[in-house]
Amino acid sequence: MTQNELKRNCLIGLALAAFALPLVVSSPTYLHILIMLFLFAYMTTSWNLVGGFAGVLPLGHSVFVGIGAYTSTVLWLQYGVSPWIGMIIGGLLSAAVGYLIGKPTLKMRGAYFALSTMAFVEGVRVMVENIDMLGPFKLNGPRGLNIPPLPAQEAGFWSFQFATKEPYYYIALTMLILVLALTYYISHSKFGYYLKSGGEEPEAAQALGVNVASCKVAANVLSAFLTSLAGTFLAQLTLFIYPKSVLTLDLSFELAFIALIGGRGSIAGPVIGALLLRPVSEFSRIYFSDTLPGLHLIILGVVLIVVMLYQPRGLTEPLLGLFDRITAGFIRKPQEDTV
């Protein structure tokens, strides 16, 4: 068994274990924490397409979460459209917005791009907070939208509402696995190589035939679409959305923190980052939300500073290195036996 085969087998094992986990963990609280973990890993992986591979730092991805959440919720509440369809419509809407804001902003360098995305999400939040009716659509301003829970017998797949946490768990897990597979595919394709090269040395990449700007815009569109799906999921999970819950900088920052600490531009980075950081967020919210609200952001900030000082490329590389060292012993043995 080679190192790569071992890694593949470990991944398959992990995925199977994740699928079997609800058989062991039945507490809704813990399931909820796991669901949020998968959801954040999913969103950060989507973020990573732009923030990692394309080498820019988007700090406004919550705008796509918000569009996803609001689109599907409005369509469900006013027109009875299944949130699954609303999810896709929201995704397409986000993709369009991703194109429109990506086109001018992705030409900017470094902090200017990050600032413009922050400004955009703040602008959208303030607007939504001040708009009760957007044409025929009821946004309900700062009070947000409440999805009335259906009685247990009516809830189900079509309405994207479930009486227990398990279905949400499996949906989130499936979404995460699919987006990871997509990322893996992209990072091994021409598009992935173009994104990575354009992110690192735009001039050199252009000279090699890479239209850096349009690659970045394409990545932003795809990333916006994928992030938006998580917004719909979040709305259906919590059944209550308001501007400060889905259209906030906190959410955008947390995605960036997870990616930076886990490892930008690596496939495993967002998952490792979410595994490490989500519990911090959840438990600090459970235990300190009334005394020290926002404590999780302070902790994340400190962790980020430490990681950037000692492992500027994130924790994924050293962790994979450790894995290789530990498993090297196991792999050598059977080879020695055969010789």
Partner: protein, 241 residues
Amino acid sequence: MSLLEIQDMTMQFGGLVAVDNLSLSIEKGKILGLIGPNGAGKSTAFNCVAGVYTPTKGKILFDGEDVTSHKPWDLCKKGMGRTFQIVKPFAALTAMENVMVGAFATTDNRDKAAAKAADVMDMLGLGDKKDLKPGAMTIADRKCLEIAKALATNPKLLLLDEVMAGLRPTEVDEIIEIIRTLKAKGMTIFVIEHIMRAIMALSDEIVVIQFGKKICQGEPEAVACDEKVIKAYLGDDYAPA
């Protein structure tokens, strides 16, 4: 027929005229050297040709087609490959992956790109360094990697911007050998270089520019004896009386 033709090209940055009415042409299969003192406008001229800047005035014809305001990535697809004076490797990718980015200009298929990259690297003697990150390579190898990336795009014309600067004499010899090999294969090469020994040995023709203006053009031996060239490089005192 000339592969590249520059007609009356001027590049102005505000009040500064970096390239002034420069005209030159390169025949297919030949090597043209562009030399001049520091700040003469060599790299600016290169950047105009490669599409980084759009010249203020003048025309650039490539393979008979007017490509004056074309973008770098389009020019690359048309068959113009270039290196940078300061090497720009993609640090997070391996050497092989660096070259593959170039190879993707000719194919969408990853395996074909990998095969092409491997070919180019073997040809340039980088065969055993495919899995290294650029940061772990010597400066000579990184310069070679620049050439490999450009070659992987299947160029008709190769623009080399000081690929030998900062190398030891033996390494310079290796690069000279590589450029000769490329020429033997029919590649047309436009080269900026400060190392006289190299440019004299390689060029079929040399163009000398100073303050953006062409002051001399001709065969290497003729250019080396030209009064204006000696003045430009060494000052008035050294000009033959």
